[in-house]
């Protein structure tokens, strides 16, 4: 059992793994073949049955026809017998005259069907006969079957089975097969009555002709038996009498009228039986079943041929259709395979049925999207590089450098050496962080230190025009950030806000963690800016922010905002809140990401 199961499993697995074309082809073919075979078989069966029925019907008609003919024949024979008896014998006193003229007349009138008519006394003596009265020597008709039977049952006429007439002499040595119709008759002679036998010998030819003419048309054969099963006519009777052929005539006696199936001598056959009137003879039609099969054999060949051809056609059609479906899929699959190998520039196959085309188009558009996305990424990288480059470039802003160096020179000239030292140190530190060994991500702590250094320098330069406060949660100090984002904000604040302040200027820097994100605020109480200004500052343009030459680093808010967005995503960046004459808060929103030094 488990072996069968595992066999089925293996088959299914194998089946499933096969290509679409194979699957479609096979399924269609199997279904179609099964359908065709079933249909063919049913049609053939139907046809064979019809054929069989037709043959049986034909034979039934034939049998009826033959029975009719035999009835006519025997009736006319009985008519002759009756005529002779009632019109001739009964009305004649044999002592007065003989009946030879009447017998001759009746014989002549019927001589195609008759061999002879004869009348005998109960002692076997010949009363009269036609056409000839010459009897054979040593004949005693009393021992002959027809005589015995006629005397035995006086009320009926008796038909015998065919036999050779053994009464009259024929100098031509001719022997006649006859069917004897005999009856008891009353003879009158000199007023006295006695019994005798009237014999009408029918030409066997009559029966034989009926069967020969009609039996030739049937698809089996027809034969005739009497009440006891003895054969009266059979197309192969010579063979039967010589013992070469056997017929099932004895058991046919048991059949009443109808159609039967029987099995005789190893062959199956259909048998139709019909009785004739009066004589009790039976007409039997035999159709061997092989006759049915022979007549349908050709149709069978035709059905097989047509079925075979149809199956061929279906297989071809299946192959054709399935390939029409599967080929585009295959081509598409090939395209995808090429795609997998990384060949993005190829032509994806667009074609085949509607769905495949759709698929192809979808894949093409996906690939296009990928290409464009990849292009975007490349562009982004480009942008980042450029901005970094800008930032890097901007850091080395000559104006800021000149000014700061100027300040240092002035301080040295003024012999304000500690301030000069601080300034140089701050500047160095500033540049160190700016470069940060080429790294892009630094810790927030470092970024704020960089901002402090900057503020240091600017405070000295601006002679304490403003105050600075830096508050940062300790947790965020070890988070990562891109460099040069706080300093440009401070720079912005100083230039746009602190210029007009007279020592009241306040710049507060707050750093805190909120909602999983890191915020760094740069707040000033300067003159603020309009909403339009805010909007234009944060405007999303593909152009990198122009370098603002007037400011120290010159990068500008836009640059910072864009860079943050580039690095961390659209949801991060800058937020500006400002009120005119009140102040401006610029908030940096970064994701919370721990800074790993080795990353």
């Amino acid at each position: 059992m488990s072996r069968i199961k595992s066999f089925f499993d293996k088959t299914f697995k194998y089946y499933r793994r096969k290509s679409i074309q194979f699957t479609i082809s096979l399924s269609f073919t199997v279904v179609a073949v099964v359908c065709m075979l079933v249909m063919g078989a049913l049609l053939y069966r139907q046809f064979a049955d019809n054929m069989r029925q037709t043959i049986i019907n034909d034979n039934q008609q034939l049998v009826s026809q033959i029975v009719l003919n035999i009835n006519n024949y025997t009736t006319s024979m009985r008519g002759i017998s009756d005529s002779i008896y009632y019109n001739v014998i009964k009305n004649t006193d044999l002592a007065d005259r003989n009946i030879s003229k009447e017998m001759s007349l009746l014989y002549e009138a019927n001589k195609n069907d008759l061999i002879s008519v004869a009348c005998f006394t109960e002692d076997g003596g010949l009363v009269d006969a036609a056409p000839t009265t010459t009897q054979k020597e040593n004949i005693d008709v009393r021992s002959q079957d027809w005589f015995v039977r006629a005397m035995a049952t006086i009320e009926n006429s008796h038909f015998s089975i065919p036999h050779v007439q053994n009464i009259f002499e024929d100098s031509n040595q001719r022997y006649r097969w006859v069917i004897s119709l005999s009856r008891m008759v009353e003879l009158t002679s000199g007023g006295n009555t006695s019994i005798g036998v009237l014999l009408v010998d029918m030409n066997y030819n009559g029966i034989e002709t009926i069967f020969r003419e009609m039996g030739a048309n049937s698809s089996g054969y027809v034969y005739l038996i009497d009440r006891t099963g003895q054969i009266i006519y059979h197309p192969k009777q010579d063979l039967i009498y010589s013992g070469i052929y056997k017929e099932n005539n004895i058991s046919a006696v048991g059949y009443s009228d109808g159609i039967y199936q029987e099995n005789f001598d190893g062959a199956a056959r259909s048998v139709i039986v019909k009785q004739t009137g009066y004589t009790g003879w039976r007409v039997i039609s035999v159709v061997p079943t092989s006759e049915f099969t022979m007549s349908v054999a050709q149709t069978r060949i035709l059905v097989i041929a047509v079925t075979g051809f149809a199956i061929m056609l279906i297989i071809i059609m299946n192959a054709f259709i399935s390939s029409r479906v599967a080929d585009p899929i295959k081509k598409l699959e090939q395209s995808v395979r090429d795609l997998e190998k990384g060949n993005l520039a190829l032509n994806i196959f667009i074609g085949g049925p509607y769905e495949i085309e759709r698929l192809g188009k979808a894949i093409r558009s996906t690939v296009d999207r990928i290409i464009s996305l990849m292009g975007d990424i490349v562009k982004e990288h480009e942008q980042k590089r450029r901005m970094e480059f800008d930032a890097l470039q901007a850091q080395i802003n000559p104006h800021f450098l000149y000014n700061t160096l100027d300040s240092i020179v002035w301080m040295i000239e003024s012999e304000r050496y500690p301030e000069a030292i601080t300034m140089v140190t701050a500047l160095a530190s500033l540049f160190r962080i700016s470069l940060s060994k080429g790294k892009n991500i630094i810790s927030i702590g470092e970024e704020l230190k960089h901002a402090q250094n900057y503020l240091h320098i600017q405070k000295i330069r601006y002679k304490n025009k403003f105050s600075v406060e830096i508050n940062a949660d300790s947790e965020i100090l070890s988070c990562g950030t891109i460099k040069l984002i706080v300093q440009p904000l401070i720079e912005n604040s100083i230039y746009h806000a602190m210029q007009i302040m007279d020592g009241d200027g306040e710049i507060k820097i707050n750093g805190y963690q909120k909602n999983g994100g890191v915020y760094i605020e740069v707040r000033d109480n300067g003159m603020g800016m309009t909403q339009e200004k805010i909007a234009s500052l944060l405007e999303d343009t593909s152009e990198p922010a122009p370098v603002d030459e007037r400011s120290g680093s010159g990068i500008g808010l836009k640059n910072v905002h864009q860079r943050i967005k580039l690095y961390y995503g659209q949801e991060y960046g800058l937020e500006i809140e400002s009120e005119l004459d009140e102040g401006t808060t610029v908030r940096i929103h970064l994701p919370y990401a721990r800074f790993d030094e080795d990353a």
Binding site: K111, P131, T133, F168
Partner: protein, 351 residues
């Protein structure tokens, strides 16, 4: 490539169709090197027909030797059954006979045979049992060879006339100046029977004799039936019978047997005349039992039948040397046979 393929396909389909239509019967031998003649007689027991058949065979052999052509004859006997004869004709047709010679069982029922012959295009020479002229007219390749039946009756009357001229008194036993006769007829409706019956009696009467018919019955050309009839007549009329007309020799012999069995001495016998001149008939004449017969020239008829059949088979039409009545009939004359010239005719048969 596809076009060529389709073309080949159509061609082979056509071939398959045509081959099934073709295929006729194989012909037996080549055109003129072989002739097949089908002969069907109405009954093999008819003596005259038997003689005719033997003579025919001799002519066949002669022609075979002369021309070197292989002539085969299919002989069949219909045993007095027209249907049997019809199927024999059918078998002749399917055997591919070049010509058929038919001795009809039922002269009124020739339609089937004529139709079959016409459909197959095989000419037919009917003989001895004559068709109605209408039937013979149905196709221009039907012929008849026989003897003029009326003539045989006339010849019978001539023979009797001679006898009566010699010794009327002996013949007219009761001396009443009227010849009482009985007639044995061949067959109901038979051309020859009717003609002979009528012909003999009316011709004889024309010669000025008075006839009284005692009996006239059908004995179906057979000896036994004639014997039966004659026996009855002897019982009925005894010595009153002065003449026995018989449509053929066989029946005459039956009458003779009846007379013998009745024990009547030969000198009291009536005058008996028959027709045919069969060997047994001639023997009876020689023995004085019969007084005359009319010779039915079996040899002459056989010769005529064969000549006609031969030219039909080889040339397709009767040769010019054959004289045809109405383009269809060949009639061979009867000849009278009496005890004086009977030896001549006996010699004919011992060839």
């Amino acid at each position: 490539m596809k076009k060529l393929f389709c073309f080949a396909l159509i061609l082979s389909l056509l071939c398959a169709c045509f081959s099934s239509c073709g295929g006729g019967l194989l012909e037996r031998g080549s055109a003129q090197k072989e002739i097949l003649i089908g002969v069907s007689v109405y009954d093999q027991y008819d003596t005259f027909i038997g003689v005719l058949k033997d003579e025919f065979g001799k002519f066949v052999y002669e022609q075979r030797q002369k021309s070197g052509v292989n002539i085969s004859v299919l002989y069949e006997s219909a045993s007095v059954n027209q249907l049997t004869q019809n199927s024999q004709i059918e078998s002749f047709v399917s055997a591919g006979c070049d010509v058929m010679c038919v001795n009809l069982v039922d002269r009124t029922n020739a339609t089937d045979i004529i139709d079959k012959a016409k459909a197959a295009g095989i000419p037919v020479v009917f003989f001895n049992r004559e068709l109605v002229p209408d039937d013979l007219e149905r196709w221009d390749r039907l012929y008849y060879v026989g003897a003029p039946a009326w003539q045989s009756g006339v010849i019978q009357s001539e023979i009797l006339d001679e006898l009566c001229k010699k010794d009327l008194r002996r013949i007219d036993k009761n001396g009443d100046g009227v010849l009482q006769y009985v007639m044995l007829e061949g067959e109901a409706g038979h051309q020859d029977a009717i003609m002979r019956t009528e012909g003999s009696v009316s011709s004889f009467a024309e010669k000025g004799y008075k006839l009284e018919r005692l009996e006239d019955e059908i004995a179906n050309w057979t000896k036994d039936q004639a014997e039966t009839k004659m026996t009855q007549w002897i019982a009925d009329h005894g010595g009153r019978i002065e003449l026995v007309f018989s449509n053929n020799d066989e029946m005459a012999l039956g009458a003779i047997t009846a007379l013998e069995k009745a024990g009547i001495p030969q000198e009291n016998w009536p005058v008996i005349v028959g027709v045919d001149g069969t060997p047994t008939g001639l023997a009876a004449i020689k023995a004085g039992k019969m007084q005359g017969t009319v010779f039915n020239d079996a040899k002459g008829q056989a010769e005529a039948i064969f000549a006609l059949a031969w030219s039909l088979a080889t040339a397709g039409k009767p040769s010019d040397s054959i004289a045809l009545d109405n383009g269809k009939y060949i009639r061979i004359d009867y000849e009278p046979v009496t005890p004086e010239n009977v030896d001549k005719y006996i010699a004919v048969y011992s060839d």
